[in-house]
Amino acid sequence: MKVKVVESVLKANDALARENRRRVDAAGVLVLNLMSAPGSGKTTLLERTIPALGAEYPAGVLVGDLQTTRDAERLGVLGVPAIQINTGKGCHLDAAQVAAGLDSLALAGMAFLFIENVGNMVCPAGFDLGEHLRVALLSVPEGDDKVAKYPTLFQPADVVLLTKVDLLGVLDYDGGRVRDDLAKLNTRAPLMEMSAKTGQGFDQWLAWLHQRWRDRHAGAAGGGRTAEQAGCA
């Protein structure tokens, strides 16, 4: 017999993601999912961001890697809760792993929860974790064609961070190409040029985080939308 089903195969993940979002919403925590290739500077970004947010905006971190607890150890020394999730052979974090991570975190009083996804530019984009905002990173040494090559990562991003821009002077890098490629995918997300080495771009990044926090607590959580986007040119 033929059985009509019509149900989402990702429904188990999506249901858990909704439950994760309910939990963090109830605690008033703003959750950001950081996605990029390995080595683009996600952990380094957090090493500079978390102290700058300071006691006014207490942060927590869930960090996914196939192996080792190195990233959680690097972030743990900042004095914030940092939980390592080892995915073993898994190429992405899923909502169940994040749910287990949430169980280990004291959410009360936390302002920002950063989820540092497994370094991978394809698979993480397909799995909702219950985050409010998606942060896509690409670093200068990866090359200037990353946006065009991995559109599914950059199209839904709420902000795009071009990291390691202190290397622009020593590499042949066409920043215009990145901007042109992004203009075809996503004109909503601001592109920020960052260097954890020099501190470039961190004022803009922190201002963006603070604004998203204010939006969140003004009841405008979610896709980082602003009112001026209404209307068609």
Binding site: M1, K2, V3, K4, V5, V6, E7, S8, V9, L10, K11, A12, N13, G90, C91, H92, D94, N120, V122, C123, G126, F127, A148, P151, T152, Q155, P156, D181, A183, K184, L185, N186, T187, R188, R225, Q229, A230, G231, C232, A233
Partner: protein
Amino acid sequence: MHEMAIAASLVDSVLAAARRHDAIKVESVELEIGVLQLVVPEALELAFTVASAGTLADGATLKTVEVPAAARCRACDCRYEPAINDYVCPQCGQADAELVAGNEIVLKNVVCQVSDGAAK
């Protein structure tokens, strides 16, 4: 790369549907996959074979149908079909797309044998 995770979830859904109808064997499975999931059908078929081994769905064939992307422009509400590398709205020129379709993975049909032995 994420085909194995999808296959494991798919097998759960298929077995649940088969059990609801007291099936003794699953013959075939039909799946719709959004183009933006970047699923490689051959890789998913192999992953499905592995994930279904030893279950009611062992040996079932998997048919996948690709679903095109569909977008709504957040700026002007225009509905359009974006290309995977081009989301520029044909009406207003912004690339501020809310995806309406293209990310789904939907189990559509399960063909199974029930206890009288006949696949219908």
